[in-house]
């Protein structure tokens, strides 16, 4: 009741608070008008605020006025200066800039930069030079929000940094027109782009001013890449260059999930060209066959693709992990195995010491890829090894090494041991779940099964040695772990039987007592 009284009293109190009345009129234009006019705005800015649209409503909404009011005096002064310079001449133009709701610091940068102020004026710019919040779909580089999020802009490198001129210029100076090739020429021939970006990114001295930890070898690598060779040597402007992967006017740090080269977006970015069959039809593989376009689809359903794109494991490889970034090239046969070894070291070492190593070298086979594939690599299963048709071992040996019974026996042994262990572990695992549901302590059992899982993975890995002795030694701890799990299972079952029998015995005693009580009650009732 006390809480009820308090609640009621407080609700009434809340309703009677003076600021509650203010809230009621928060949407009232007059109230806000009074609030805004309480601070002095430069008169040229205040004049824009009074402009109205065709229907008679103020162009700058109450919300934007409040935002303008919240900006530091110096920033508001810069707006006044832009109006004086006739770069900001209409309320519609001011509305575009205010509606970005930038932080005071970013707003200060924008209103200091004459390029941005001028190129956002819808009345003075042509469609291909007007930056806006919602640009046409075929001109995404004119997205104002994207530009203001660009890592270069955030580090103080604005329009003039690439286009020339100065942010304080009051008109387009000649340098701007001379810095780049003419529009038609620069769009037809893209060879100038790597050199242009490289003018900063290949210069350690220049990069030290902005991002000292960033490497400066991108251009050198690019020149050696397939893309670089196509563009710079063969003058093929369809080949990818800096802008193709990093974008323009919205470039972000690769750690940002919005960056086109964030690990999780790399497959999609590469796929924009490599999954485009019409574009790839222009190219052939070294053997003359057509260029495949299924890499992205294969990767998405691969174990690596699922780990990166579905589970969000940023350690999983994307295209660039195997092909390289700026020096992108298809790995040569000799280097495939080395690339896989960057993560799968143990498997590589075992393979190097196996009999297969020599045979693969003789045939010039790419090691790992022969069994596991490339873009569509799946999680390995026990079914991959064995001496029956359909298994990798059998199919390959049937073709290349038919007269080796020992190999078939070894493959059969691998398959049999792993299958038996796996099946037994699955049974124990399901029994463990049942016992856990019955409230028994299964922690030691789970520990044994975890030990088994670890040993099982190791045993599976030792298949890459293709040696029975090595494999059996690795499988032994798995067998021990399962034996331990079995003894824990027995113990848990005994405990369950004890509990069940205890329950039955105690229920029997209680039922007996209840029966005695019942008959006593009947006796007393009949007496009374």
């Amino acid at each position: 009741m006390i809480s009820a009284t308090l609640l009621l009293a407080s609700v009434v109190g809340q309703l009677l608070r003076p600021d509650t009345h203010l809230l009621l009129f928060a949407t009232d234009g007059g109230a806000v008008e009074t609030q805004v006019s309480s601070t002095q705005l430069p008169k040229q800015v205040a004049a824009l605020l009074t402009e109205k649209d065709a229907s008679g409503k103020p162009i700058i909404s109450d919300d934007l006025r409040s935002y303008l009011q919240s900006l530091p005096d110096h920033t508001v002064g810069l707006i006044g200066r832009s109006i004086d310079l006739e770069m900001l001449a209409s309320a519609d133009h001011l509305k575009i800039l205010l509606s970005l709701k930038l932080s005071p610091q970013a707003a200060e940068l924008v209103f200091t930069d004459n390029c941005i102020v001028c190129h956002t004026d819808p009345e003075n710019q042509r469609p291909h030079t007007l930056f806006s919040i919602d640009p046409p779909k075929d001109r995404p580089h004119l997205n104002l929000k994207e530009f203001l999020s660009d890592t270069h802009f955030r580090r103080g490198l604005s329009c003039a940094g690439c286009h020339g001129g100065s942010p304080t210029d009051k008109r387009m100076v000649d340098e701007i027109y001379q810095k780049w090739p003419k529009r038609d020429a620069r769009q037809k021939d893209r060879t100038w782009i790597p050199e242009f970006c490289g003018s900063c990114h290949s210069s350690p001295g220049r990069m030290r001013q902005f991002n000292p930890s960033l490497p400066t070898d991108q251009l050198a690598k690019y020149r050696e890449s397939r893309h670089g060779i196509l563009l710079l040597q063969e003058k093929d402007s369809r080949a990818a260059q800096c802008v193709s992967c990093h974008g323009v006017h919205g470039i972000r740090d690769p750690k940002s999930r919005l960056s086109l080269v964030h690990p999780q977006r790399v497959p999609e970015t590469c796929g924009r060209c490599h999954a485009d069959s019409s574009l790839m039809a222009n190219y052939k593989l070294p053997d003359g066959s057509s260029f495949p376009t299924n890499q992205l689809a294969d990767y998405r359903r691969s174990v690596h693709g699922k780990a990166l794109l579905e589970k969000g494991d940023l350690g999983a490889p994307a295209c660039n992990s195997c092909h390289g970034n700026h020096a992108a090239l298809p790995p040569a046969v000799a280097s495939v195995a080395q690339i896989c070894r960057t993560c799968h070291v143990a498997n590589g070492t075992l393979f190097d010491g196996s009999k297969h190593k020599q045979a693969f070298e003789t045939h010039k086979w790419p090691e790992c890829e022969m069994c596991h594939g490339k873009h569509a690599i799946q999680k390995p299963t026990v079914e991959m090894v064995g001496n029956t048709p359909g298994t990798l071992c059998f199919d390959c040996h049937a073709k290349y090494s038919q007269s080796n019974p020992e190999c078939n026996a070894t493959a059969a042994h691998f398959h049999q041991v792993l299958t038996a262990l796996d099946a037994q572990a699955k049974v124990y695992s399901s029994q463990t779940e049942q016992l856990a549901e019955r409230g028994l302590d299964v922690a030691p059992l789970q520990e044994s099964l975890e030990e088994f899982d670890e040993a099982f993975v190791k045993a599976r890995t030792t298949i890459h040695s293709f040696d029975r002795g090595t494999f059996d030694a690795a499988a032994a701890p798995g067998k021990e772990a399962l034996a331990k799990a079995q003894s824990w299972l027995e113990k848990a079952r005994r405990e369950y039987r004890f509990r069940r029998n205890g329950l039955l015995a105690s229920i029997a005693v209680m039922v007996f007592l209840a029966a005695v009580l019942y008959f006593k009650i009947r006796e007393i009732s009949s007496r009374s």
Binding site: M1, S3, A4, L6, L7, L8, S10, V11, G13, Q14, L15, T20, E437, R438, G439, L440, D441, A443, R499, R500, L503, S506, I507, M510, V511, L513, A514, L517, Y518, K520, I521, I524, S525, S528
Partner: protein, 467 residues
């Protein structure tokens, strides 16, 4: 016993000192009334007391091993359930008994409401019972956090957060309850102190008062049977029946504790230990409180963010406070029962309360929501299915009341069913449906009042009395 003959032995020794004969005399002559309704309702207080005793006994056993602390709470509960002999049984019985106690208490409270046992002179017995109900809920809430597991941690975070809705004092109350702005180990220390010291002392005192009232006033005879009444001796007839029921409860409790050691697995009735609480881990969706708080949880969900000039949760908690206030004051509000007359309106109020709480609880269980994976169930489908279920139960109850009990008063339960139908079947927002049902109820009540006044006036005119 002849008071003139001095007793020998231990009884005589005690009698000379404590005059036990008056107590024996009281017990011999104490009787339990029997009447129109089933005598079963008289046993429910006893079963609640039985489960409370089990709670205290098992709680003391758990206390022998439980160690509150960031690195010990979870571990000690694990130790109790895995290493301590019969520890699993004690914890399971403690959890099951807690839920069975609340079930028994709720049935006891509603049966008291329906048979009008709260009527004068037993108003304070009702009020102490209501306080015991509130204490039992506090026991549940404070005990929930003690294992310091993930579910308890997040459920307590969500549960305590609603305290913020109390205006002005909300933030302060939240910090007092949590021992800081967030749920931390300080919160556990406070909840532990509440659970094992403050609440037990309070409950023992109030149970004592409740029992004294019952012993002094006897059990309430059924309405309309004040004069020619049958009765049963309390001792041994009623006491032995009580004992038999307790034994049956014990058999049920033991069986449940063995067969379902972590509860039946329905939301709000599940006490599997799971993972240890990690305050830095993100809260996962679908965290729900114990089943007896689900109706409040769902009400909070159904309210929009702002209602009139209040925050949504604030308004929802105001509604809950008003409803509970009305419930606590029923002995004074029910003037018919106070005069020994039948009181169909308050019987109907109890049915309406069951329908109101039942509908919200069923919705909180997401019945009919077809949940797949982590996706939230479809709220409209849930409202439709649970609405149909509630209406079916409501219609069946009304039919039984008409045919068996010959009830003719259904305004409150009718309003509750209209509310359910408007929200569940016609898709109106919960609050809008509630407001429509409320004003409809007020209109019908006004019409009934005018009708009864006109009838009384007509009767007076027929009898020739003054107008």
């Amino acid at each position: 016993m002849n008071s003139e003959t001095p007793e020998k032995g231990l009884y005589g020794w005690l009698e000379r000192r404590y005059h036990l004969s008056s107590l024996v005399h009281f017990l011999r002559h104490k009787e339990v009334p029997l009447g129109a309704h089933s005598a079963l309702w008289y046993y429910l207080g006893g079963t609640t007391l039985f489960f409370l005793t089990i709670q205290i006994a098992s709680g003391v056993l758990l206390l022998g091993y439980y160690q509150p602390g960031e690195s010990t709470s979870y571990e000690s509960i694990r130790f109790i359930t895995t290493k301590v002999p019969f520890g699993w049984l004690v914890r399971s019985a403690h959890c099951w008994s807690a839920h069975l106690m609340i079930i028994s208490l709720v049935v006891h409270m509603f049966s008291t409401m329906i048979i009008k046992a709260y009527r004068p002179p037993r108003e304070l017995t009702w009020v102490t019972g209501f306080v015991l109900f509130a204490l039992a809920l506090c026991f549940g809430f404070s005990g929930y956090l003690l294992p310091w597991n993930e579910l308890a941690f997040f459920a307590t975070s969500v549960g305590t957060d609603s305290v913020k809705s109390v205006p002005i004092l909300g933030q302060w109350m939240l910090e007092v309850l949590r021992g800081g702005p967030d749920v931390t180990i300080q919160t556990l220390y406070r909840f532990f102190a509440l659970h094992v010291a403050v609440l037990p002392m309070a409950i023992v005192a109030i149970v004592g008062l409740h029992l004294i009232f019952i012993q002094r006033q006897g059990m309430a005879p059924p309405l309309g049977h004040l004069k020619s009444i049958r009765s049963m001796r309390f001792f041994p007839d009623f006491a032995m029946r009580d004992l038999l029921l307790w034994l049956i409860c014990l058999i049920g409790l033991t069986t449940l504790a063995f067969l379902l050691p972590y509860g039946p697995g329905i939301p709000g009735m599940d006490w599997e230990l799971g993972k240890k609480a990690n305050p830095l881990a993100p809260a996962y969706p679908g965290i729900k409180p114990e089943w007896y708080f689900l109706w409040v949880y769902q009400l909070l969900k159904e309210f929009p963010p702002h209602v009139f000039r209040m925050e949504g949760p604030q308004a929802a908690l105001l509604v809950v406070t008003v409803l509970l206030g009305v419930w606590a004051l029923v002995p004074w509000l029910d003037r018919n029962a106070a005069k020994g007359r039948l009181s169909p309106a308050f019987t109907d109020l109890a049915v309406a309360a069951l329908l109101f709480i039942g509908y919200l609880t069923l919705m909180a269980w997401d019945i009919g929501g077809h949940q797949t994976g982590n996706a939230q169930p479809d709220a409209q489908a849930v409202a439709r299915t649970t609405g149909l279920l509630t209406i079916a139960v409501g219609v069946a109850t009304t039919a039984a009341r008409i045919l068996i009990n010959r009830h003719r008063w259904f305004v409150f339960s009718g309003a509750a069913l209209v509310h359910v139908a408007l929200h569940g079947l016609f898709g109106l927002p919960y609050l809008t449906a509630g407001v429509i049902a409320f004003w409809l109820m007020v209109a019908v009540l006004a019409a009934l009042l005018i009708h009864s006044r006109l009838q009384a006036r007509r009767a007076q005119l027929v009898q020739g009395g003054p107008p």
